[in-house]
Subunit: 331 residues, 2 copies
């Protein structure tokens, strides 16, 4: 049974996913399917995933059959269970609760060898539209507080299957780091009556040295206190708190701009492994003036070592100003 | 010039170590010296490191010459500078300060092929005595708030040189994660008038299911909300806030017990890469009743992926109770 457990000292929640029940020997070599010649995400292998939740198809046809462009399926080894009520136990030191939530996989393309950056713009748009559709659907589940959409691209970035996919995890609690962001943004708003992200965008556009790219609707910057070399934050220029509320024409503009940044990353850093992660407001909040959805993109170039995970303090060997120059290239 | 920068939203400090000035191509393959046949940490190569700060030698002999068992040297590419005053700048959004601090390397053995777990108990004792000596010395530097001693063992755990070594970083600010621990422990103490670590030890010794080993002086547990599979916390049974205050006979007992746990890790998990990290009280605090020094040991078995770094929320596929059984083995 999967459960959430709370660290009694700093209050961090973790998911203990015992169903995966990993023994020491299970860690020796993780599966990376291409090497075994079989991929459950490829067209024709629909039976190897749980039944689809959503799919984009050119022609109307039966579900869980070939003929799709994109599928959303529950994770076959979910870290969380979809069904059940939240059961919470507190004793003096230790708190735990049942591992309710959603863990979904967005299979971005039927083709094993196409990466997200290589999709057509229309196809890329369908991918982020699927993110939005799933967020909209999960927002109606009153047990859930928040969802995170993320992608692990390449083995060093944590991908366990090579076939291009992203993931969505929806949680009944707000994770520590997101809660800190919300809190920081709320405090700033309480003091200044302005969104801190809007102020950062304004300040960065004026200073220019950390602006990697901009369009009418979006901006991508190297954040001032970047944790990782070549870290990028993509933000909408106009204040917007919830990704699930974006109108379609803005989502289309995002598809073009976001894909351009992934292509930039591939060109500047020779197609590195990377993670990206969508930060958006908790479901319960209606549109707010203080929080601003954004996408964090991190190429995985260096190893995070003992010092970083132990202290929450990062050492970054490339300044964001330098990173901006490299990422802008010879534009 | 190295500098500390503060994230304006969540207040996390990072070190931008521009002196390292890493360009994209510098990340392709990090050095891992054995492959190049030369190691600056080996006996006879003393000239390749900055001059030693401390050394243990069998015979009195000249510094920075062969004949040592253990050397402490400044990091050749330090993330922080030892000299200078702390210069702090705040503007509306962005805060930064000069990168003052210490970054030292403890070369644990002159022999390239001996690992920490394989040292004699006396030699292992000399290593942790060196940690203590350096903490005691740095505690006198009024610019510094805290030091962290840590080890990255093996490439996947972030070691850039194979030769067995640990590191020490001393900082003029308290890192976020450590500050959260101190705060959590203080809050608990304010409510209960007891140390939370002492209470955890008592509770775990009674429950037994997460106790991996114990001696008269120490206990090692799989923490209740373990972030990583086979995570271990080593704590003194008697309350103690500062590692630099431990008397020598307890330090000797620690050497025996700590080394035993590293051997246990090697046996249970086939000599995995690992990190360990010593958490001890800030220098400025005299002995306190609320914080309890401890060592966190994390074998590096799985990759930390997008979800974890983006949310501060960990998914752990092995429960600490299961991990305890595996780590105890057939005792």
């Amino acid at each position: 049974m999967t459960e959430f457990r709370r660290d009694p000292i700093i209050g961090r929640w973790v998911i203990i996913a015992e169903e995966r029940g990993k023994r020491p020997s299970d860690f020796t070599e993780e599966e990376y399917t291409v090497q075994r010649g079989f991929c459950p995400f490829c067209e024709g292998n629909e039976g190897w995933t749980p039944p689809e939740i959503l799919a984009v198809r050119d022609q109307p046809c039966a579900t869980n059959q070939p003929g799709w462009q994109l599928r959303v399926v529950p994770n076959k080894y979910p870290a969380l269970n979809t069904y059940g009520q939240i059961d919470r136990h507190d004793d003096d030191l230790f708190q735990h609760m049942s591992g309710i939530g959603a863990h979904e996989v967005i299979i971005e393309t039927p083709d094993h060898n196409t990466s997200l950056a290589d999709l057509s713009t229309e196809h890329f748009f369908q991918v982020i539209k699927a993110y939005q559709a799933r967020l909209q659907a999960l927002a109606n589940d009153k047990r859930l507080e928040l969802a995170i959409v993320f992608k692990n691209h390449g083995r060093p970035a944590g991908a366990s299957l090579e076939h291009s996919h992203s993931q969505l995890i929806a949680l009944p609690i707000i994770p520590k780091r997101v809660a800190e962001e919300l809190q920081g943004a709320q405090t700033y708003f309480a003091n200044k009556d302005r969104c801190i992200y809007c102020d950062i965008i304004k300040s960065e556009l004026a200073a220019e040295i950390r602006v990697i790219d901009q369009s009418d609707e979006f901006v991508v910057i190297a954040p001032y206190a970047s944790r990782f070399p070549f870290e990028m934050w993509l933000l909408p220029r106009t204040h917007s708190s919830h990704f699930e509320h974006i109108p379609e024409h803005i989502l289309r503009a995002l598809a073009r701009f976001f894909q351009k940044q992934l292509t930039r990353l591939n060109q500047a850093l020779s197609s590195p492994p990377y993670n990206f992660l969508l930060h958006t407001s908790p479901f319960a909040d209606r549109s707010t003036a203080y929080y601003h959805w954004h996408i964090e993109i991190i190429p995985k170039l260096s190893r995070v070592a003992g010092f970083e995970w132990g202290t929450g303090f990062y050492i970054n060997p490339t300044s964001p100003e330098q990173a901006t120059l490299f990422l802008k290239g010879n534009e």
